[in-house]
């Protein structure tokens, strides 16, 4: 009993620790990455006792200190309570979302099986969408509480944009859910461990020797869904090219103009946490989650070659490592995007969301349904 609680607590702490640190790291990566892209050096001034060596660690420590020591400014005639509530509401969903994302298969220690996932909900994906849908409140409330035209505009934009893209996101994920036939993320991840040939009917036998040898990842089964999901997810994180709620060039900083210090840090970290969550979701839904291609519970089994057997712990380690790598890759991808593409206009954002993503997602759902019925026939 106690041990179980302890284990759960440990998992929760581990995940939170990882996500938060990753957020911090991403802050540094973003600066360095932007510098790299814009051909400059970037953040290298944060020094501890005059020692500006390993910049990552310095930044990791310096950034929070800087924020926390700044004045917490609340605008006059603003709504104090909501002004304080808003950042928490922006930060909270990003963190709790990660709870249902599995970062590994069941780990067997002695006689104890540990599911490498904080909370195993049999409708995890819905839980994620629910939480993601809550994250909009942070923006809206913050914008309102700031009693500032720009931030209000940002809030209005943010609410509209996030509602619009939640729809597309959910619909694009539905295709995946239909393919793997479950709402449970762990199940989805496991489902991606098989090979495509196991899903193929005999009528398509000629495919089994070529395509059939690929792992049944979402990206292979639902490529269109992945594109839609990717776009929608970026829009959900409110980053370029979808950073209309902030829009430095027109709304100064949008919904968090009036924020400073710790509260701003929460917004800031919340954004990066959302990036991580989005990356985790993409990984889990489309890139096999913690799966390593051809890595079964007892080691590698290559369909065209012999097998390497591995100890259980090594397998688990490989899986966790694979998951982490994939997440990091997608985080990097988003940052890369943020520094390379220009910003949409507001109406363009809306049109993209409602007139392209939504219909495409619907088409994807319908086609998927037809194919599934045909294959199971």
């Amino acid at each position: 009993m106690i041990v179980d609680v302890g284990i759960i607590a440990a998992k929760a702490f581990l995940v939170l620790f990882m996500v938060l640190n990753l957020a911090g790291v991403l802050g540094w990566i973003e600066r360095k990455g932007s510098a790299l892209i814009q051909d400059r050096i970037g953040a290298n001034r944060a020094s501890i006792l005059g020692f500006a060596g390993l910049g990552l660690v310095n930044t990791l420590i310096a950034d929070p200190l800087k924020f926390l020591t700044k004045e917490d400014f609340i605008p006059p005639h603003g709504d104090k309570f909501l002004h304080t509530l808003a950042p928490c509401m922006a930060f909270f969903p990003a963190l709790v979302t990660f709870a249902v994302i599995p970062f590994g298969d069941v780990l067997v220690l002695g006689d104890r099986a540990i599911n490498l996932q904080v909370a195993d909900l049999n409708f995890g994906i819905l839980y994620i969408f629910a939480m993601a849908s809550l994250s909009v409140y942070g923006i809206v409330i913050g914008a309102w509480a700031s009693n500032n035209k720009f931030s209000l505009l940002g809030g209005v934009r943010g609410s509209a944009q996030m509602i619009s893209y939640e729809v597309a996101m959910g619909l694009s994920a539905i295709g995946v859910l239909m393919v793997y036939g479950t709402l449970d993320l762990q199940e989805i991840a496991r489902g991606q461990g098989t090979l495509i040939r196991d899903l193929l009917p005999d009528s398509l036998g000629f495919l089994k020797t070529n395509i059939g040898q690929l792992p049944a990842w979402g990206i292979f089964l639902q490529p269109l869904a992945f594109l839609l999901f990717f776009v929608a997810a970026i829009a959900e994180t409110k980053r370029i090219p979808f950073d209309l709620p902030e829009g430095e060039s027109e709304l100064v900083a949008g919904y968090h103009v009036e924020y400073s210090g710790g509260k701003f840090l929460m917004f800031f970290a919340g954004e990066f946490a959302e990036i991580v969550t989005a990356a985790g979701l993409m990984t889990t839904l489309f890139f096999g989650g913690w799966q390593v291609p051809y890595l079964m519970r007892d080691g590698f089994h290559f369909p065209w070659w012999e097998s390497w057997l591995l100890p259980h712990l090594a397998v688990a380690a490989l899986q966790v490592a694979a998951f982490t790598l994939k997440v990091l890759f997608f985080c990097w991808l988003q940052i890369l995007l943020r520094w390379t593409v220009p910003r949409f206009r507001y109406d363009q954002v809306m049109r993209l969301g409602w007139k392209m993503l939504l219909p495409l997602a619907l088409v994807n759902v319908i086609v998927t349904a037809i194919v599934i019925v045909a294959v199971n026939r």
Partner: protein, 164 residues
């Protein structure tokens, strides 16, 4: 007092407080936030009643979509927060709703209600069962609801469009 009872009291109390805030707070946005809290609490109550699916849907639909829409409209119109209050109206309203509450309680609790819930399996309230009954016994209402939503979309577009 079993823990479940305690949980109920906490949730119920919070829910009543939140609902009262919805009605009595003068600022629209505060009311909206109170309502969000109330909806969230109701969702948790659903979870305690073995209706996880509906609970999540509650958060997703109400808190996630409808209330955001409310906030969006509030910010779009940005109406004057101050609204005139008339003694009589409030006095009468409070009395009437107290009466209503009493009558409802009296009417609903006079039958012999089962004290203990039916022993429910793991499946009860899960997506599978909900979907099953939704697409077998209630398929026609389901379709009608979809049509209703379609009509709603069109109606909203027509209504909110600036006449030009």
């Amino acid at each position: 007092m079993t823990p479940s009872m305690m949980l109920f009291y906490v949730l119920g109390g919070l829910l009543v407080i939140a609902s009262l805030m919805v009605v009595f707070l003068s600022s629209v946005v505060h009311s909206a936030m109170a309502l969000v809290a109330a909806l969230f609490l109701i969702a948790i109550l659903f979870l305690t009643l073995h209706a996880p699916m509906v609970g999540v849907l509650q958060v997703l639909v109400y808190a996630g979509a409808i209330m955001v829409l409310f906030l969006f409209v509030i910010m779009l119109l940005n109406p004057a927060a101050v609204e005139p209050r008339r003694r009589f109206g409030w006095g009468f309203g409070i009395v009437a709703s107290l009466l209503l509450a009493g009558a409802l309680v009296a009417v609903m609790t006079n039958g012999e209600a089962p004290l203990d819930p039916v022993a429910s399996t793991e499946l009860f309230g899960s997506p599978e069962t909900l979907a099953k009954s939704l697409f077998t016994d209630f398929v026609l209402p389901f379709e009608i609801a979809s049509v209703l939503l379609l009509v709603t979309i069109i109606g909203a577009v027509v209504l909110a469009k600036r006449e030009s």
